[in-house]
Symmetry: C2
Subunit: 410 residues, 2 copies
Amino acid sequence: MKTAILTVGTEILFGQIVNTNAAFLSQELQNMGYDVMYHYSVGDNPGRLKELINFAFHDCDLILTTGGLGPTQDDLTKEVIAEAMGDVIVENEECMKALLDNYKKAGRTMTPNNLKQGYMPSRARVLPNDAGTAPGFALEKDGKLIISMPGPPREMKRMFELQVKPILESMQDSVIFYRIIRTFGLGESSMETVLLPLIDGQTDPTIATYAKEGECSLRVASKRATKEEAVAAVDRMIEDVNQLIGEYIYSYDDEDLVDVVGKLLLEKHITISCAESCTGGLFAAALTDIPGISEVFERGIVTYSNRAKMEELGVKAETLDKFGAVSPETACEMASGLAEKTGSDLCISVTGIAGPGGGTAEKPVGLAYIGIAYKGQVKAVKSQYRNVSRKWNRHYALLGMLNQVYQLIK
Amino acid sequence: MKTAILTVGTEILFGQIVNTNAAFLSQELQNMGYDVMYHYSVGDNPGRLKELINFAFHDCDLILTTGGLGPTQDDLTKEVIAEAMGDVIVENEECMKALLDNYKKAGRTMTPNNLKQGYMPSRARVLPNDAGTAPGFALEKDGKLIISMPGPPREMKRMFELQVKPILESMQDSVIFYRIIRTFGLGESSMETVLLPLIDGQTDPTIATYAKEGECSLRVASKRATKEEAVAAVDRMIEDVNQLIGEYIYSYDDEDLVDVVGKLLLEKHITISCAESCTGGLFAAALTDIPGISEVFERGIVTYSNRAKMEELGVKAETLDKFGAVSPETACEMASGLAEKTGSDLCISVTGIAGPGGGTAEKPVGLAYIGIAYKGQVKAVKSQYRNVSRKWNRHYALLGMLNQVYQLIK
């Protein structure tokens, strides 16, 4: 079904916020087999909004809107849509009750303009808002459908998941199921080459690769009559994918590598500490973003100077002199020194050249060595990123560290 | 002038990328006094693209487009715009020469489809691309103007800055100049209240406040006949702003706090080390994102466990027992212990409750104590964020640390 996404709000036209709602809805619709033909954004202006709705409907049968459902004078989406769909706004018992209950429960006094949220187009199907006060609605006319959701992303996403998705699913005569597989260590073109026998000539399930921030993801999707059939088809294909690139896969469920690693550390209760040079605290910061990680994360040391490497981790002056701070030898001494000091089950270190300066022909920007001390063994692994920027070199070294931990404890 | 922004590309409609181009152009246009009325996004489809251009022009006089200028079959923006503006595509000597030179210089072989980039609408004003191969163009008809730029944000921004901005400026009979003032420590509504005498009834310069990730920014803008007059008016107003909230301001030039702090540390050559608990390495990671910071940043220690706080920083067991890990006493001992260990000029520490769990009535989630050891003095400062999420609590504690450093060394 041809679909348009219409986001309403002056803050978008002012460039104060980036339109993430449109991207989120596009992905979701795409995944459900809807064809998104247009994104439109317009301010809180009734004339232009109405014109845009009419324009969109001459080509599309479904419009999803976000924004403009709030209680202020500006918020006119509901009124304009009612008019465009030949309907009128009336008090809605269900909405009014929910609204009054909400305010009562929160013990807040309602200002008169909030009453607006108790009104709806007379033929609308109300979509309750689990995460805020403004309800959404669906309104149909002559086979054309508008579904209207609030603008704040948290409210919109929750309403989409609970209310809108089921409606859209019920309108399709087939079901699309997909999984996003996340990998590390294999570039997009290498992955495509390896998977070519599966991708080529394949109509269902389909396989698509996406490069993303130093990683590569894979979307395996199937469109079948029932969900069971689609799931089975996807899972059969994933078995074949596994045969070819299984060693690079860390999630079949679109999880981030740091979350996968954090979960494993907590499940297996493996204590961890880290010593960072080029990443400067990124590893510790990423891991400690996970609630409850304090159970296994003991400490992190950012040894940015050579002196800190020696004092904190017992790296030998000779090692630094002979091999340099960025070397497998230094990475190993960092990790084993940290293990000795902390007694953590797993100690990981990194030393590299983040750039933009400091690179040489022998040790170019983007080079890093990752040291790991685990179960009495110490080793170093080389990581080399194509030098794009300091930011990405640091990020790639972080992913390399996480991947080393993952490979050891999975 | 009424303006529409039109982004072309299937990857936007698929939700694979978020439309940051539209937000960037909106901000820039807004700052130059153009009224952005619409954002449109459409795939690489000639029919829909042409229809959208016609629709946009019935209300707007200027359309800025991005995307669809590349060498592939898909890239049809140029051809469609030419047709919509009653023009034809012809070989363009300037473009063809630049194209051939580019390939020659890079030593790359040109595929035939690349030749497309040597063609232009016959009446177009060519906009050279400093950061890529696809040139942009401006094309006018009957007082309506389309300016077309490539899609990759880096190329688009550079072309906008060098080529498009001067054109747009020349079309205005007045000049808008503005400064973005960045502050920390004052909420948006408090700031508005304090600045009310300046905001109220002020038509030029205008003052607008923006809340952003725990901070609050201020935009002071003036529209005058010449740039000199506008600059003078803005700077006069900023003097008045300074009288009222000067102590909270850390940049008059829209710089990030971490960059301001990093620059000051490098300029004054003040060495720094940090000891982090709740921020878990964010401070070290933020500071080490600055190229060259290794000159002053000595080390960071993420003391996530009590044991690490004692072993690494010499925090006393009695202190942890009596006052708890999240207390001014612990924060002070962390900072002074670090100072003793490292000898860095400035040592900063933080200990807090990031959440979502671990809060009590007395020590709620979002509470943090920042310790500072500087010039022989040690003190602790309390920071309390309204608890939104672990992420924001950690971010706010980071800003608090940066602000403490800034206040001491500015």
